[in-house]
C-alpha cells in the first residue's frame, strides 16, 4: 500500500474533460447497488427479527448505537479530509492523517453494514411515515454513494472536486440516515444500552 498522505492533487485542465467520463461506470455501479438494496428491501417480506448482538437491551438499541458509532467515525472522516485538503487554519496535515482518514472510513462503513442488513431483513423498505420513507431511500443511496467513492478513489485523471464531492455526499447521506433512525430512536425511547 502506498503511503498516501493526501488526496490526489488537482490535475492540469487539459485532462479534466476525460476525467469526468471515468465517473460514468462507477456511478452506474453505485446506482445499481442502491437499486438492488431498495428492490430487495421492498420485495423481501420483513421478518421482524434478525440475529441479535448480546449486551444491548433490544435490536433497536444495537442498531442505534452501531449507527451512532459509524456517524462518529464519519465525523472523523470529514475532519481528517479538511486537514488533508489544508482547509483547517494553522493545522498542517501530519503524515498519519491519510491513514486516519482511510481507517476511520473503513470502520464507519463496516459498522453500518450490520445495521443495514438488520434493517433490510427485519424491517424492509417502508413508507408508512415520512421519516421511514426518507430513511429507506437514503439508506439505499448511501451504499450506492459509498460504492462510487470506493470505485473512483484509485482512478487517476479526475478533476479535483470529485473526491471531496463524493465524500461530502456520503457524509450527508449518513447523517440524514442517522437523524431518521438512531436520533429518532434515542429521542423516543431514551438513551440507554
Amino acid at each position: 500500500m502506498t503511503a498516501q498522505s493526501s488526496a490526489s492533487a488537482p490535475l492540469p485542465p487539459a485532462r479534466a474533460s476525460s476525467g469526468v467520463a471515468k465517473l460514468v461506470v462507477p456511478s452506474v455501479i453505485g446506482a445499481l447497488v442502491a437499486l438492488t438494496l431498495g428492490i430487495y428491501g421492498r420485495l423481501h417480506h420483513p421478518t421482524g427479527i434478525a440475529i441479535n448482538i448480546a449486551g444491548f437491551s433490544s435490536p433497536g438499541y444495537v442498531k442505534s448505537w452501531l449507527a451512532t458509532g459509524a456517524t462518529v467515525f464519519a465525523l472523523v472522516q470529514v475532519g481528517s479530509a479538511l486537514v488533508m485538503y489544508g482547509k483547517v487554519p494553522r493545522v498542517t496535515a501530519p503524515p498519519w492523517i491519510g491513514g486516519l482518514h482511510r481507517w476511520s472510513g473503513r470502520i464507519a462503513f463496516l459498522l453500518a453494514v450490520p445495521v443495514a442488513i438488520h434493517c433490510l431483513y427485519a424491517l424492509g423498505f417502508q413508507d408508512y411515515s415520512t421519516r421511514v420513507l426518507i430513511h429507506s431511500l437514503l439508506g439505499c443511496a448511501f451504499f450506492g454513494a459509498f460504492t462510487v467513492k470506493m470505485l473512483i478513489l484509485p482512478k487517476r485523471g479526475l478533476p479535483g472536486w470529485v473526491l471531496p464531492l463524493a465524500g461530502a455526499l456520503v457524509f450527508i447521506l449518513l447523517i440524514a440516515i442517522w437523524l431518521t433512525s438512531a436520533y429518532w430512536f434515542f429521542s423516543t425511547f431514551g438513551i440507554k444500552r
Partner: protein, 252 residues
C-alpha cells in the same frame, strides 16, 4: 495505489453483509421462503448471540402456516407486498418486547389495542384500504401499518403511539384463543374498560382503564383473564370479556 484497497474495503463490507444476511435467514426458520416445512422448530437458532426480538412472533408464525384460519384466503407464495385478508386478526409483541399490540381487521373497519401491561395502552379505531391500516385513539394515540402475505405467513407491520410512547411492530396473524379481549363495566360508579392481548404462546398482557369515559384515560395492570371462561375479577366485580375478532366479526 499498488493494491486497490478501496475495492478490498468494499468487498469486505459486501462479504460481511452476505454473512449477516445468511445468519439472519438461519435465525428465522418460520419465515423462510417456500421450501421450508411448517414444522421447523419455533425457537430461532441463536448464532453467536442470544435469541433476538419478539419471541412471540416466530413461535406464533410457526403455528399459523400449519393451521390457517378458516376465513383467511389460500396462502400466497408471492414475496411481494399484497393486500391483507379482509377479515383477520393479528397479535404479537412490539419490537423490543416492551408491549404487545393486537389488530382486528373486519372488512374496511379495524380495531386495535396496544398495551404494556400497565400504564401505556390505547384503544384505536380506523380503516384499512389496500392493506394500509390507519387508526387513531384517545390522547393522541395513532397507529399506521401495512400487512403482507408471504409464503403462508401474514404479518402486519407498522408504528403505534400510545400514551406518548412509540413502538414499531411486525406481528403475525393470530388464531383463537390468541387475540384481543375487551371488557367494559361500571364499578362503583366509574366506567372501566379492560383490554387483554393473548399471545399464541399462551401469555397474556392486559391493562385496565380506571376512567374509560375520560378523554385521556389512565390505566393500570389488568387482572388476569381466564381465557377459558372469558372472565376476570376486578375490585370484587366479575368482568366478562368479549373477543374482538375481525375474522368472526365479534366485537364489531
Amino acid at each position: 495505489m499498488k493494491r486497490n484497497t478501496p475495492l478490498i474495503t468494499l468487498l469486505t463490507g459486501a462479504a460481511l453483509g452476505i454473512v449477516l444476511l445468511i445468519a439472519s435467514m438461519l435465525a428465522t426458520p418460520s419465515n423462510a421462503p417456500a421450501g421450508y416445512s411448517a414444522t421447523v422448530p419455533s425457537t430461532p437458532s441463536a448464532t453467536s448471540a442470544p435469541a433476538s426480538t419478539p419471541p412471540a412472533a416466530p413461535s406464533s408464525a410457526a403455528e399459523s402456516p400449519s393451521a390457517p384460519s378458516p376465513s383467511a384466503p389460500s396462502p400466497s407464495a408471492s414475496t411481494a407486498y399484497a393486500g391483507a385478508p379482509a377479515q383477520a386478526d393479528y397479535a404479537g409483541k412490539v419490537s423490543g418486547g416492551g408491549a404487545s399490540v393486537a389488530v382486528a381487521v373486519h372488512g374496511s373497519q379495524v380495531i386495535a389495542y396496544v398495551c404494556n401491561g400497565s400504564t401505556v395502552e390505547a384503544w384505536l379505531k380506523g380503516t384499512v384500504k389496500a392493506g394500509r391500516v390507519v387508526m387513531t385513539g384517545k390522547n393522541h394515540a395513532q397507529l399506521s401499518a401495512d400487512s403482507a402475505v408471504d409464503s403462508a405467513v401474514t404479518m402486519m407491520a407498522g408504528d403505534v403511539t400510545a400514551h406518548g410512547t412509540h413502538y414499531s411492530f411486525s406481528v403475525p396473524m393470530a388464531q383463537k384463543p390468541s387475540g384481543l379481549y375487551e371488557a367494559t363495566a361500571t364499578v362503583r360508579g366509574a366506567t372501566i374498560k379492560a383490554g387483554w392481548i393473548v399471545l399464541a404462546d399462551g401469555t397474556q398482557v392486559g391493562s385496565l382503564e380506571t376512567d374509560a369515559g375520560s378523554a385521556a384515560p389512565s390505566a393500570i395492570q389488568a387482572p388476569r383473564l381466564d381465557v377459558a371462561t372469558g372472565t376476570a375479577e376486578y375490585d370484587g366485580t366479575i368482568l366478562h370479556a368479549t373477543l374482538i375478532s375481525g375474522a368472526t366479526g365479534s366485537g364489531f
